[in-house]
């Protein structure tokens, strides 16, 4: 069974907030689900499938499903970190194709700036005993990506200036997004002049920490045609796990390589046909690795691909993260996959900022990675086509 054409994203909503004191996770879920359903022209009583991650308040998804007033015949709360919401689009399409549901809602809510974060698991993973972090305090995720950046520099001659260009492009996009957390345009020198967190990554190589969330409505194509709302047809989805834990370590590529191959194969198109991509940008290096893994440029060349505004919409080589991405706009709940799908849908609908809209866009890609790229991570990639 192929998922090509099996479902359509007809609703997409991003919470406008970035700092939400006084809010609860259940409240943010309610806000974004209502927003996405209103965008689609559907109501909560139409929903029969619900997908969210393991940070949902209460027991699994069940408490949230009853709180929101849904009658579901299909639910899922598998945890893939920031990749979850990209993967859920495929999982929802599979459930729809199997007849398990017809109107699926995917929801994300997070309040990390309010310190409402999920506690680490009580039981550390078995690898922790042989690593220096485990779950016992750790050295933070920045260091985990910094070792990727160092290796990319060592093997391919990538420079800190090239990494900084990813942030510069995102800041130029965010300057046009009234909801972006950081709206000031920055220069390469600004990035290189910001404090080092873990060499070679500076503070401005890192994504923002924001409250908020978002939701998607994924429906059977028959439902989409009845609604008459534009959207995005799922053409392909892939996902993959990559770990280094047998002792074979190659930090120069990620699980995006396999998830991208699967998604493009299912869609029957290639990266050359894609003029907009939402690429996970937890850190600047995350984008470089994804560009190579997904085939937007060849291995080792992402540094020159992104420099001199390569990712700026309209003038660059490829329009990437036109909402400002996680680096400048939003990374709600420390999980970036949701906003990646939302901006891809905006672009396919022609609802991105006019100055950043890719004209006559037919195909878009959204890709997310979850957990830590240097050790154990998961990826999902989707290929979407304009649905009018």
């Amino acid at each position: 069974m192929s998922l090509n054409g099996s479902a359509v994203i007809v609703g997409a909503y991003e919470h406008p907030g970035r700092r939400l004191p006084g809010h609860t996770l259940a409240g943010v879920h309610r806000d974004v689900v209502a927003g996405a359903l209103a965008d689609a022209g559907l109501s909560i009583t139409d929903v029969d499938g619900f997908f969210t991650d393991s940070s949902a308040p209460g027991f699994g998804v069940i408490d949230l499903v009853q709180h929101l007033g849904m009658q579901c015949t299909y639910t899922e709360s598998s945890e893939m970190g920031g990749a979850s919401y990209v993967a859920y689009v495929g999982h929802a399409a599979a459930a729809i194709a199997a007849g398990k549901c017809r109107v699926a809602v995917i929801s994300l809510a997070g309040l990390p700036a309010q310190r409402q974060r999920v506690s680490p698991p009580d039981t550390p993973p078995p690898a922790a005993a042989y690593q220096v972090n485990g779950y016992s305090g750790g050295y933070g995720p920045v260091a985990d990506y910094a070792v990727l950046a160092r290796r990319h520099m060592h093997e391919f001659g990538t420079t800190s200036e090239q990494l900084a260009w990813v942030k510069v492009a995102s800041s130029r996009h965010a300057a046009l997004n009234p909801h972006a957390f950081l709206r000031d345009e920055v220069t390469v020198d600004d990035v290189l002049g910001s404090s080092l967190i873990a060499d070679p990554l500076h503070k401005l190589d890192c994504c923002v920490v924001t409250d908020g969330g978002g939701a998607l409505v994924v429906v059977h194509p028959d439902v989409a045609r009845e609604l008459g709302r534009s959207g995005a047809t799922l053409r392909g989805q892939g996902e993959s796990h990559k770990a280094s834990l047998a002792g074979d370590v190659d930090l120069t590529y990620s699980a995006n390589r396999r998830s991208g191959e699967l998604a493009f194969a299912e869609a029957g198109i290639t990266a050359e046909q894609v003029r907009y991509a939402s690429l996970y940008d937890s850190f600047t290096i995350t984008v470089l690795v994804a560009l190579e893994d997904l085939g937007f440029c060849s291995r080792g060349t992402a540094g020159s691909f992104v420099q001199d505004g390569g990712l700026v919409s309209g003038t660059g080589r490829l329009a990437v993260n036109t909402d400002g991405g996680g680096l400048s706009s939003n990374h709600p709940g420390n999980r970036g996959g949701m906003t990646k799908v939302i901006e891809a849908v905006r672009q396919l609908r022609g609802e991105a900022h006019p100055a950043l809209q890719v004209p006559d866009l037919e195909f878009a890609v959204a890709s997310g990675t979850g957990f830590r790229l240097s050790t154990n991570h998961y990826s999902s990639t989707i290929v979407l086509e304009r649905f009018a």
Binding site: T123, H154, S244, L245, L251
Partner: protein, 144 residues
């Protein structure tokens, strides 16, 4: 500016899987071993009682040379406790001469020599006698 990264980093108490006790017993004597799969013949990391590639439970624990090469590294300048009071410190991947790559720290090392390709040797650190030995590495040829 040259910086010297000292030893004495935190050694949080890990949870030990029972099937990896041979590795910890050797580490307690200051000996680095590497698990090899008897079925497919290859070394693997991290230690466990089965081969993550083929699933065989025929595992032998062979003494390692204790030397390896830095694959990549970072200097961590901001971290939560118990690491925060030890910044800056070095997080690295080291490829052992046996072929497996290990996530670790580089200690007692000068910033002048720190780069991928640096030759290092294993040391075991424990912040307290009650702690378990944690595998770390230091330059084979220290430059101070």
């Amino acid at each position: 500016m040259t910086h010297h990264f000292p030893g004495g980093l935190p050694t949080p108490r890990p949870v030990i899987e029972p099937d990896a006790e041979p590795w910890w017993d050797a580490a307690g004597r200051g000996e680095l071993t590497v698990p090899y799969c008897e079925a497919c013949g290859r070394p693997f990391w991290y230690p466990r009682g089965f081969c993550p590639r083929c699933g065989s439970t025929g595992v032998v624990w062979r003494p390692a040379t204790g030397e390896g090469t830095v694959y990549s590294y970072t200097v961590v300048r901001r971290a939560a406790e118990p690491w925060g009071s030890h910044t800056p410190f070095v997080l690295a991947y080291v490829t052992l001469d046996e072929g497996v790559t290990v996530q670790t720290n580089i200690v007692d090392c000068s910033s002048d020599v720190l780069e991928p390709g640096l030759r290092v040797r294993a040391v075991f650190e424990r912040a307290d006698d009650a702690d378990l030995p944690v595998l770390r590495f230091t330059p084979v040829d220290p430059v101070h």
